[in-house]
Amino acid sequence: MKVKEKIETNPQECEAPNMRKSGESGWNLLRYLIVGVLFGIIFVKAEVISWFRIQEMFRLQSFFMYGVIGSAILVGIISIQIIKRFGIKTLSGEPIKIADKEFRKGQVIGGFIFGLGWALTGACPGPLFAQIGSGFSVVLVTLLSAIAGTWVYGRFADKLPN
């Protein structure tokens, strides 16, 4: 029987956690900026930041977004399988760790609420940043409101069903 290594995560802690043990600074951190830049360019060039593309998706009138998300997941699955099977390590030689996602009611209720907002704004959090960058400066208001929404969740997190 395979014994699964339990990764210690505090429930208060981040959902996209930094599993790196050694600290990082300066030039090391710049790498994430560069990955972000490439990612932002892909977002704009594939037009996935378009409000229209999201409408096409929710109206089932174009395969495009399903193709994007589906093929991204496929490449992600294959990549993680390769990493796990071959025990690939990070650049600094640490074993790669990925925290499990545990079931919470929020995935249903919060997920649905996010979906409502996704169809209105035509953006999930990533595209918000790319929309602002590509010249739709008014989306800054949407971003600030999203931060406010996150804050309100944090304020009442212990009172919501979870």
Partner: protein
Amino acid sequence: MEQLIEWIKQPWPWYIAGPLIGLTVPALLIIGNKSFGISSSLRHACAACIPAKIPFFQYDWKKETWNMLFVLGIFLGGIIAAVFLSNPDAIVVAESTQEDLAQLGITDFRNLLPADIFSWSNLFTLKGLFFFVIGGFLVGFGTRYAGGCTSGHAIMGISNLQWPSLLATTFFMLGGFAMTHLILPYIMQWVGF
């Protein structure tokens, strides 16, 4: 080189964009053991700027600086794509979607976002209230309640074969369908389209 730039300027097909987005997952893991996730940046912004002694925002956000730099990069990438690589032609929206949206009152199909909605002049109107303020709030509140967004759950979570992420993604989609088909027609009327 000229030809390459011309080719890059065209809208990229899904089978190029999707796999490239998927490669972000191993890239972040290999660079520094980071799990792909974007909505967390909104939480870090709260923790850094307005923690207000709320337990949910009491954590070492400085350790997650990478995530803030990642989203800063997405913003800069947006600028680069728009300034240097922008497509000279109008976006091609599916005919049927154009017809549906025209019925709801959208008239401008030239840009990535419809100018009918996304302009500063709409900020202090009902359009701004629904599409920017309420829409943004739902995105921020919902993603954090769900513990992730399209990147953290749909891409990173499902890639790691996590069923809670598949569940979350299912409800992202259900919320989107409900808004698009059941609620949006009423909102469009209320806000004056």
